[in-house]
Amino acid sequence: GAGVSQSPSNKVTEKGKDVELRCDPISGHTALYWYRQSLGQGLEFLIYFQGNSAPDKSGLPSDRFSAERTGGSVSTLTIQRTQQEDSAVYLCASSLHRRNTEAFFGQGTRLTVV
């Protein structure tokens, strides 16, 4: 595709349920990031994938959060046993090389836990 695609665009789930958020990066981009943005706040780093290297999971807020990237392309962020404080916009971004290139963001998934 022409840009980073995220699905779903909106997700409402009940507290305690698991959710999966999907990110399709730009073809050929080796770096992929997940960020979380609460209303009116900045970008909270969650996880970073770079090629075949082990992902940097240092931003995941708890063990309820996990992410994988299959075949160096599509990534899925999974939140287990969702809590109300998980409500936020989850943004995915990809970039072409390791450094010195811009990150392209998807439109985000707005997650609401009720």
Binding site: A31, Y33, Y35, G40, Q41, G42, L43, F45, Y48, Q50, D56, S58, L91, A93, S95, R98, R99, N100, T101, E102, A103, F104, F105, G106, Q107, G108
Partner: protein, 111 residues
């Protein structure tokens, strides 16, 4: 770990006035990038600076990378309502590749 800080957090500007927002990193950066996020939108890349002391202009926006490659600034002249949004700086430290974002400066404009 690396920290990227931006000040001010909020900038309320009268239309037509100038302002500057600042970005400071705790570590030397290989480059600095600036992004703009309009209300309800996602961050969009504005520019990248790579060289020490580099200055780049985009119309009314002037971007500067510090000599030590640890700080940057964005100066907007003659602010317009189209400048409303949150401006983020981001950069990978010299010894890593991960892009770390500042908390952003949210700009509102009084007409």
């Amino acid at each position: 770990g690396q920290q990227v800080m931006q000040i001010p957090q909020y900038q309320h500007v009268q239309e037509g006035e100038d302002f500057t927002t600042y970005c400071n990193s705790s570590t030397t950066l290989s480059n600095i990038q600036w992004y703009k996020q309009r209300p309800g939108g996602h961050p969009v890349f504005l520019i990248q600076l790579v060289k020490s002391g580099e200055v780049k202009k985009q119309k009314r926006l002037t971007f500067q990378f510090g000599e030590a490659k640890k700080n940057s600034s964005l100066h907007i002249t003659a602010t317009q309502t189209t400048d409303v949004g949150t401006y983020f700086c981001a950069g990978p430290p010299g010894n890593d590749y991960k892009l770390s974002f500042g908390a952003g400066t949210t700009v509102t404009v009084r007409a």
